[in-house]
Amino acid sequence: MLIEINNLKKKFESEGVVTNVLHGLSFNIEHGEFLSIIGPSGSGKSTLMHILGLLDRATSGHYGFEGREVTTLDDNELATLRNEKIGFVFQAFNLLTRTSVLDNVKLPLTYAGPELKSKLANNKKDWINRRAKEVLESVGLGHRLDYYTNQISGGEKQRVAIARALVNKPSIIFADEPTGNLDSKSGVQIMKILQDLNDAGNTIVLVTHELYTSEHAKRIIKIVDGHIVEDRPVLNRRFASEVEVLK
């Protein structure tokens, strides 16, 4: 079991007004799953992703990550877990400007602690560079290493972001509307990469508001007003290919 949440609640308090965003959610995510969380804006799907991604804390409930209760961890412990176990892909890419593609991908490894280092380094001196180049080549950007992030296309930017998410060999990748800022052709390429990664054994959580995009996953959890209204496998799964663009 990779993720196990039980009666997870989240409320925001602002100037005395309490807003309940998540009303006691419970579900599990297994290793190797491709889960899509879908819901209209304001449904709480982003908040759920932030909590699952250890960027935010639940107000109450239990959250087990790889068998470890994470609701009691402090900021530094959460930062270390994010650094070692989680990869993020954001809608707006969130790459550093005026910084090379390679340096962007290296960034998570510059914060690596001893554990991540021993997992990836193999006692090699230049391990950060090697590892970053390796993942960039795997997403087809081996020829863009020294380009600055403002010199490449939107689709390439999102591939850099995926490479950055993969560089620490994470247990799970969270992709928050990864195709939202892309043209349809680039969007298909990104979905293809995500599906290939899942085929290779990576666990992926895709957050989107489009049913069409979510049908690339294997399982859909639909959230409305902080409640899970649907949790089902995808029966007619879509497969990203060049043909799709023509539709």
Binding site: H50, G53, L55, D56, D75, N76, A79, T80, R82, N83, E84, F88, F90, N94, L96, R98, T99, L107, P108, T110, Y111, A112, I128, R164, N168
Partner: protein, 417 residues
Amino acid sequence: MFTHLTQTIKTAVKALLTNKMRSFLTMLGIIIGVGAVIVIMAVGAGAQSLILNQVSALGTNIVGVLPGNSGNDGPPTSVMGIVITTLTYDDALALAQKINVPDIMDVVAYSTTAATLEWGTNSFIGTLSGCTTGYMAVEGGELAEGRFFTKDEERNLSKVIVLGSDVKNDLFGDSEAVGQRIKIKTHSFEVIGVMKERGTVAFQNYDNKILVPIKTVQKLIAGVDHISLLRAKINSSENVKKAIDDMKATLRERHDISDSSGASDDFTVSSAAQALDMITTITNALKYFLAAMAAMSLIVGGIGIMNIMLVSVSERTREIGLRKAIGAKNSNILNQFLLEAITITVLGGVFGIIGGVFVSFLVALIANYLEYDWSFVISPLSIVLAVGVSAIVGLVFGVYPASKASKLQPVEALRYE
């Protein structure tokens, strides 16, 4: 750890290069502050060396006696032009006695008054220095032609005069001066000697001196009986302290002062060495005071840095959020922004030192061109002070923005537009 530090430095430098103009303007406060500290310390040291060179050129074995007491309130009022009549010609004679002051070599007493010298249609307005024959022995200097007046001439109201080189040139030009007669008031003086050109020593211009026997000035020109200054030459600088005590004792005995504490003295004895100490103390105090003022500008510069760092933190909120999302701890973010602030100030400090040294060198160059005896001194202390203070300024004023950045919640920071 090491790769981490170099990475952080690289990030800091990159952030500064991203906004070159802004970084430079931010640095300017530090550059000016550090530069000012360096310049003030260097110019202070240069001015000090100028004063000390002048005073020590006079010789450290010279002791001066002024009429009037100098207590804690400052120098005797006689230096401010108030006439005090407590010192006399006979005091000077007594001090010149080896029985009274064993280490004395010679004494010169002065009685000065303003006067106009006339030769034909030419005239020269200057200070008439009535003095004793001890002048040559105590003050030094050489005669270009003629002779100095004798002990007899000193006493018997002889109307003889010795001219400084400037005075001679002004009155006589190239023509012969010795043997000519000069008119002062209603009296006619014979020029018996002309001094060699000597220039300014210890802020005294020796070339415009007009030397006349002291009694002649007292009785015929000024109509007074007191002397305005007395200078004594001691056989060696080691004996100056003892000689000063002997001179004080002699004068107290002659003036019937039984109080040996010095509080009732009607005269002031001081040496060039004492003056040197005092000047050093004063100029040091002044130098450090000015340097402290300049250091204040570093604080103002530091506030500028804090301001810009706060802007930088809010501009890069999303970057901070991203860094946290991929595993940066609060301390990583804190160090990043702190190092950025310190990089600005230390870089500013280095530019400030370069600028400050350059300006100090320029000042020394100009001073030397103007023929002042000015040393170009950059004290290592001022550099250590400047760099240290600027790094501390960076640290102190960088802490608040950096801690603000480090405390941002990753979710809030990622959402920030």
